[in-house]
C-alpha cells in the first residue's frame, strides 16, 4: 500500500526536477509554478507513505535501508519547502528534486520488509538519535545544494561569463542561506551525535568504538564547527561553500559505510 505513495512521490520528484530545470533554461514562470505544485503533492504523498510505514513497523523501520533513504529524501524535500517559503530559489529546486528522486529511487530498489529490531535497540534512544541526526543530514544536504549554486554563480560573476547568470540568486543571498542551513544542521547533528553515543553506551556499554561511521561523523562535525567559527574572521563565500560540500561528502560516506557493509560491529547507527 505505502509503495503506491512512494511511487507517486518518485514520479512527481522527477516531474518537479524537470520543471525547475526548464524554468532555469527558458526563464518562464509557468514551469516553476508547475514544479512547485508537483513538489508539494509529492511531499504530501511521501508523508502519507512514511506515516503508513511508521504505523506498520514502528521503530523497526529505522533498521531498514529502504526507510532510511526514503526518510532522508522526505526530510530534504521538507527542508527545501520550508526554505522556499522565505527564499524563492527555484534553482535550488533544480538540485534538490533530482537528489530526492535519486534517494527515493534507491530506496525503491532496496525495498524490503523490516527485520525485527534486535532486543537491545528497542529503546527510546533510537528515535532520539535518528530524528535529529537525519534532520541534520537533510539540512547539510540542502546547504550543499546551496553551496553548489553559490560556486556556480561565483564562477560566473568572477569570470564575467554570463550563462544562467540572471536567473541565479545573488551571492550574498546564497552565502547567507548556506550559513543558516549549516548552523541549524550543526545544532541538530550535535544532538544526534550525543544521543548516538548514549545509544552506543546503552547497547554496547561504550560511548566510542572507533567505527567508520563514528570517526567520519565526528570529522564532519569538527569541520562544520570550524566552518561556523571562521565565518567571523572572514571565511565566507567560496571557501565556506567548498567546506560545506566536503563535510557533506564525509557524511555521505559515513552513512553508506553503515548500510553497505563496511566492517562495523553493529547492526545500526
Amino acid at each position: 500500500m505505502e509503495l503506491i505513495f512512494f511511487a507517486i512521490s518518485l514520479v512527481l520528484y522527477l516531474v518537479a526536477g524537470v520543471g525547475f530545470v526548464a524554468h532555469l533554461l527558458v526563464g518562464r514562470d509557468g514551469p516553476r509554478r508547475a514544479a512547485m505544485t508537483a513538489l508539494w503533492i509529492a511531499f504530501a504523498a511521501h508523508t502519507i507513505g512514511v506515516a503508513l510505514r511508521t504505523a506498520a513497523l514502528g521503530n523497526a523501520m529505522l533498521n531498514s535501508f529502504h526507510d532510511q533513504l526514503s526518510l532522508l529524501a522526505w526530510l530534504i524535500v521538507g527542508v527545501y519547502l520550508g526554505v522556499q517559503l522565505r527564499y524563492h530559489l527555484a534553482v535550488l529546486g533544480a538540485l534538490v528534486c533530482p537528489l530526492a528522486f535519486l534517494l527515493t529511487l534507491s530506496s525503491y530498489i532496496v525495498f524490503s520488509g523490516a527485520q525485527a529490531l534486535p532486543e537491545e535497540l528497542q529503546t527510546a534512544w533510537l528515535p532520539a538519535h535518528v530524528a535529529p541526526a537525519f534532520l541534520g543530514y537533510a539540512m547539510f544536504a540542502v546547504a550543499s545544494c546551496v553551496s553548489l549554486v553559490y560556486l556556480l554563480q561565483e564562477r560566473q560573476v568572477k569570470s564575467k561569463r554570463r550563462g544562467l547568470f540572471r536567473r541565479l540568486p545573488s551571492l550574498e543571498t546564497l552565502d547567507d542561506l548556506n550559513y543558516r542551513c549549516v548552523a541549524w544542521g550543526f545544532a541538530l547533528f550535535t544532538i544526534g551525535i550525543v544521543t548516538g553515543s548514549l545509544l552506543a553506551k546503552a547497547m554496547w556499554g561504550t560511548f566510542w568504538s572507533w567505527e567508520p561511521v563514528q570517526i567520519l561523523s565526528v570529522l564532519a562535525w569538527l569541520l562544520y564547527a570550524v566552518l561556523l567559527q571562521t565565518r567571523s574572521v572572514g571565511w565566507r563565500g567560496r571557501r565556506a561553500a567548498t567546506l560545506t560540500i566536503v563535510g557533506f561528502a564525509l557524511l555521505v560516506v559515513s552513512f553508506l559505510s553503515l548500510n553497505l557493509g563496511l566492517p562495523h560491529g553493529r547492526s545500526f547507527g
Partner: protein
C-alpha cells in the same frame, strides 16, 4: 460607410527636439485641442498624444478624403510659434498601418529607448484626457484598450523590458548578482570622472544607501559630494574608509593603480570577508586587475560592463522581434472588428438572425398544430413577421440615424447584444 482609423504626427525619428518642442501642447491646452480636433471636418473621434518624443493625433473617420491634411494643417497653425513647414516631419498612417503604429507605441517598440516602461502610462493618461471631453467614441475606445492589452501581452510574453543597456545600468544589474539588495549598501566613488558620477547616481537611484566621494583635489570631492548629498573623504585617507564600502567605483585620470591588492586585502580583513564589488570605469585602468583573483572581490572594468550592456542590447532586439509578431496578430484581430463596424451589413445580419429565429419557432408550433387550415397558418405567419418587424423597427432606425460618434457605438452594441459578433473573433 466604412470606418477607418488614422494617425498623423511626428516623433523622435522624424523631427529633432527643436521641432518637437515647438509643436508640443502644454497640459492645459489638451482639452481644447481634443475638442478642436473633433470639430475638424471628417474627424469622428480624436485623441492627441504629446510626450517628449512624439506629438500624434489618433483619430477615426468615415470620409477619409483630406482628413489627414486638415489635421496636419491644424498642427501647423495650432502653435503660433511654429509657423514653419512641418510637412517634412509629419507622417500619416491609415488603416492597418495606423492600428499597428498605436500598438507599437503602446508596447514601447517605437520608443527612443525600446522597452522603456513609461509610455504605456502616458498613453493611458492621454486617452483618458480625450475621453473626458467626449472626443472619443466606440472606435477609439476599443482601439486604445486593445493597445493597452497588446502592451501588456508584450510585457509578459517577451523580455523586452528590464534589460540594462547602458554601462551604468549594467553596473546596477551586476551589483544585484552579488548583493541581496542594494538598500543600506555603501558605495565609494574615487575620482570625479563623468561616467563614474553617472554610475554612482544610478546606484543611488537603485537603493544604495550612502555614498562617499574622494578626489585628489579635495574641493572637487566636496563639490561632487554636495551634488549627491554624499560624504567627501580626503584622498590620502580613502584607504581608511575603504572597508565601509560595499561598492567601489573608480573614475580618475590617474595613470597608476589607485586601488591595489594590498589595500583590498586590508579592507577585506576589516570587513570580515564581506564581498566588495569594484567598478573600474577609467581608461587607463585605476584598479589593479589582479584584485579580481581575490576571494569575495569582484572587479569589472569598463569593457566588461560594456560587454554586458551590449549583450543585453542584442537580447532586447531579439525580444523586440517576438513583440512585433504579437503586434501583427493583434492588428488583424482589431482590423476584423473594425471591418464589421458598418450600418448596412449589421442591419442585414440583425434581420437575418431574427428571421431565422422566427422561422424556427413557427415551424415548431405549426408542427404540433396539424389541424390548422391555410388561413390560420397565414395569419400566424403574418403575426410573427409583424412582431419581429415591430421589435426591430426602433433599433434599425437608431442604427441608420446615428450621428458620426454614436453610429459606431450603436453598431458595436447591436452586434454584441444580438450576438452577431464576427465568428472568428468571439
Amino acid at each position: 460607410m466604412q470606418h477607418d482609423v488614422l494617425i498623423v504626427g511626428l516623433n523622435h525619428r522624424t523631427a529633432e527636439v527643436g521641432v518637437r518642442e515647438a509643436v508640443a501642447f502644454a497640459d492645459e491646452q489638451l482639452d481644447d485641442v481634443n475638442r478642436t480636433l473633433c470639430g475638424i471636418e471628417g474627424v469622428d473621434e480624436a485623441a492627441v498624444l504629446c510626450t517628449c518624443n512624439r506629438v500624434e493625433v489618433v483619430g477615426s473617420t468615415r470620409t477619409g478624403f483630406g482628413v489627414a491634411d486638415r489635421i496636419a494643417e491644424f498642427l501647423r497653425v495650432a502653435q503660433s510659434g511654429a509657423a514653419r513647414d512641418l510637412a517634412p516631419h509629419l507622417y500619416n498612417y491609415w488603416g492597418r498601418d495606423a492600428v499597428r503604429h498605436l500598438f507599437r507605441v503602446a508596447s514601447s517598440l517605437d520608443s527612443m529607448v525600446v522597452g522603456e516602461p513609461q509610455i504605456l502610462g502616458q498613453l493611458k493618461q492621454f486617452y483618458a484626457r480625450a475621453a473626458s471631453v467626449g472626443a472619443t467614441g466606440a472606435v477609439l475606445h476599443r482601439w486604445f484598450h486593445k493597445a493597452f492589452s497588446v502592451a501588456k501581452r508584450v510585457r509578459t510574453e517577451t523580455g523586452i523590458a528590464g534589460r540594462a543597456v547602458s554601462v551604468s545600468s549594467a553596473a546596477v544589474e551586476l551589483a544585484a548578482t552579488i548583493f541581496d539588495r542594494l538598500d543600506g549598501k555603501t558605495a565609494m566613488l574615487i575620482g570625479a570622472g563623468k561616467i563614474g558620477a553617472l554610475a554612482a547616481r544610478h546606484l543611488l537611484g537603485n537603493g544604495v544607501g550612502s555614498l562617499m566621494v574622494t578626489n585628489r583635489t579635495f574641493d572637487r570631492a566636496v563639490e561632487l559630494a554636495r551634488d549627491f548629498s554624499a560624504t567627501p573623504v580626503p584622498f590620502e585617507q580613502f584607504a581608511k574608509y575603504l572597508p565601509m564600502a560595499d561598492i567601489v567605483i573608480g573614475s580618475t585620470a590617474s595613470t597608476s593603480y589607485v586601488l591595489t591588492e594590498a589595500a583590498i586585502h586590508e579592507a577585506l580583513r576589516e570587513r570580515k570577508g564581506r564581498p566588495i564589488f569594484c567598478i573600474d570605469l577609467s581608461v587607463p585602468r585605476n584598479f589593479d586587475p589582479r584584485i579580481n583573483a581575490i576571494d569575495n572581490v569582484y572587479l569589472y572594468d569598463i569593457d566588461d560592463l560594456g560587454a554586458v550592456a551590449e549583450e543585453n542590447r542584442d537580447e532586447r532586439n531579439r525580444e523586440a522581434q517576438k513583440a512585433e509578431h504579437i503586434v501583427t496578430e493583434e492588428v488583424e484581430s482589431f482590423w476584423r472588428w473594425l471591418g464589421h463596424l458598418e450600418v448596412v451589413p449589421t442591419i442585414v445580419a440583425l434581420r437575418e438572425k431574427m428571421e431565422a429565429i422566427r422561422r424556427a419557432e413557427l415551424q415548431k408550433t405549426l408542427g404540433s398544430l396539424k389541424e390548422l387550415g391555410p388561413r390560420e397558418r397565414d395569419a400566424l405567419e403574418a403575426m410573427t413577421s409583424a412582431i419581429v418587424n415591430k421589435i426591430l423597427h426602433t433599433p434599425i432606425t437608431r442604427l441608420k440615424q446615428g450621428d458620426r460618434r454614436s453610429e459606431a457605438f450603436y453598431i458595436d452594441a447591436a452586434r454584441r447584444l444580438f450576438d452577431i459578433e464576427d465568428p472568428d473573433e468571439s
